[in-house]
């Protein structure tokens, strides 16, 4: 059973939960009918193309047509499956998320990335998708999947793949506090030579071993990074290695390297079954667990 709690936007009684599930399952069943139809069409077209292509070797004069038909057939056959995938992300997932008190935008058109730049490596291309936002335990949450790459269209290297998100933080700061995974001696040398931000050295040895902290105010950095917050970040880093965090105003921005595709669906082999929802909710769980691990809903500003 998934652990996602019913948020304040949704009802918490089990009766409503059941009717909500029933509504979602009905949507999924409609989609499954379409998926089966499109799959049959794709298999039929791909097999026909292969038969046509192979058969052309036995009949003279149809060589060039065989190549065209044999090449375009599979593309035409697979195309509806891709369209179905987009349709699924644009229609089904938003409805599921809405039922659980969250909003979802596949294209992530409203996700601003500029604020995350201090946390991210240098990149030339970016792709942001699967934007989820809403409130969890009264804490504002906004997360999206981000993939950054570098290089030419022919030779691209992925420099970051994972989640980026905003969380409401119980404290406000005028300075910008950047917390990155420690780069060791090489990082210290780079800081000394090129970094414009002041490095902050904190008292917690374990935290210092795992993270490098930058802020233009030593006091503001310590105001945000209390011993309790440092302990919580250590716990989070153990779960998500490579964690990067930025605190500004009343927000905590987070970047989590993660190779997994969020809300991924493989339509060719996987039936659209109710258990897909559980898989989605597990993905949502992973995001919301950050609020719980960091105890962002706590009223005490410690």
């Amino acid at each position: 059973m998934h652990k996602v709690p019913i948020t304040e936007n949704g009802a918490s009684n089990s009766e409503y939960g059941t009717s909500r599930r029933r509504h979602i399952y009905k949507l999924l069943n409609e989609f499954e009918v379409r998926r089966k139809k499109y799959s049959r069409f794709a298999v039929w077209l791909v097999c026909s193309s292969i038969v046509f292509f192979v058969g052309s070797f036995f009949f003279r004069g149809v060589g060039e047509y065989a190549v065209i038909v044999g090449g375009t057939g599979p593309v035409i056959g697979i195309m509806p499956m891709f369209l179905l995938r987009i349709d699924f992300k644009e229609k089904i997932i938003p409805q599921v998320m809405r039922e659980y008190g969250f909003r979802y935008d596949f294209g992530a058109t409203d996700m601003p990335l500029d604020d995350f730049l201090p946390l991210l490596p240098v990149f030339s291309d970016w792709d942001v998708s699967d934007h989820i936002w809403g409130r969890h335990k009264s804490v504002r949450v906004s997360m999206a999947k981000l993939k950054l790459s570098m290089g030419t269209p022919r030779a691209k290297i992925t420099v970051f793949s994972g989640l980026v998100g905003y969380f409401q933080f119980p404290k406000t700061t005028k300075s910008r506090v950047v917390v990155k995974s420690s780069a060791g001696v090489a990082g210290d040398l780079t800081d000394a030579l090129v970094s414009s931000n002041q490095r902050v050295r904190l008292e917690d040895q374990e935290f210092e071993r795992r993270f490098d902290v930058y802020c233009d105010s030593q006091v503001d950095a310590r105001y945000i990074l209390t011993p309790t917050t440092m302990q919580r970040l250590i716990v989070l880093e153990a779960i998500h290695p490579g964690l990067r965090v930025l605190f500004q105003n009343d927000e905590m921005l987070i970047a989590l390297p993660n190779e997994r595709d969020l809300f991924a669906v493989n339509f060719f082999f996987t039936p659209i079954a109710p258990n897909l929802i559980d898989a989605f909710l597990e993905d949502l769980d992973q995001i919301l667990a950050l609020v719980d691990t960091l105890k962002l809903d706590a009223k005490t500003k410690i």
């Binding site: 050295r201 030593q218 006091v219 310590r222 105001y223 009223k299 005490t300 500003k301």
Partner: protein, 185 residues
């Protein structure tokens, strides 16, 4: 040739130690100045709190009088390392009394319902957070300074740049009220 290389390396090491002593001293002064800024912010809260409290807290005249006196004493202390020790001790008491004041304010429903006192309490909590942060920065800088001033051979360079040990800033635990879980629920 070897002698020149060794002498060069030695000179570099001596210069590094001298520069380090200056850095440690300046960092401690920066920390002392930042803690003074935060303590002044805390003291600036007092007049507003007193104006409100005088209206509603007739029975706490002694506490309010103590607060006024401590504030004027803290404001009259000169800046610099000499006055710092006295200032830190005094402000520790001011923080404790302010904490007690806000805890006592809970017993006065008329006062508690005032928007100004709610804002003052929020400002007090924020200032206390900054004082605690400044205290951590100051104590960390003072540890470095005191280690340099008391350990050979850095003590020689610390003496050259006029770096003297500074007092630590400790919170006055006795003056603080115990945390009431009800306030946070």
């Amino acid at each position: 040739m070897e002698f020149l290389i060794i002498a060069g390396l030695l000179l570099m090491l001596l210069y590094w130690m001298y520069a380090r002593a200056i850095h440690i001293k300046n960092r401690a002064f920066e920390a002392a100045s930042s803690i003074e800024v935060q303590l002044q912010k805390r003291r600036d809260l007092i007049p507003n709190v007193l104006t409100l409290a005088k209206k509603f807290m007739e029975h706490e005249k002694e506490l309010l009088g103590e607060l006024t006196e401590l504030r004027s004493r803290a404001n009259s202390i000169g800046s610099g390392p000499d006055g710092l020790k006295e200032e830190l001790a005094l402000d520790s008491t001011v923080g404790g009394i302010l904490g007690r004041f806000f805890a006592l304010a809970e017993n006065y429903p008329d006062l508690k319902s005032q928007a100004t006192i709610v804002r003052a309490q929020e400002a007090y909590e924020e200032v206390e957070g900054h004082v605690a942060a400044a205290r951590r920065f100051y104590n960390s800088a003072v540890t470095d300074l005191n280690n340099a001033a008391e350990t050979f051979p850095m003590s020689i360079f610390a003496g050259m740049v006029g770096a003297k040990p500074l007092p630590y800033f400790e919170a006055d635990a006795k003056a603080r009220p115990p945390i009431n879980a009800k306030d946070h629920m």
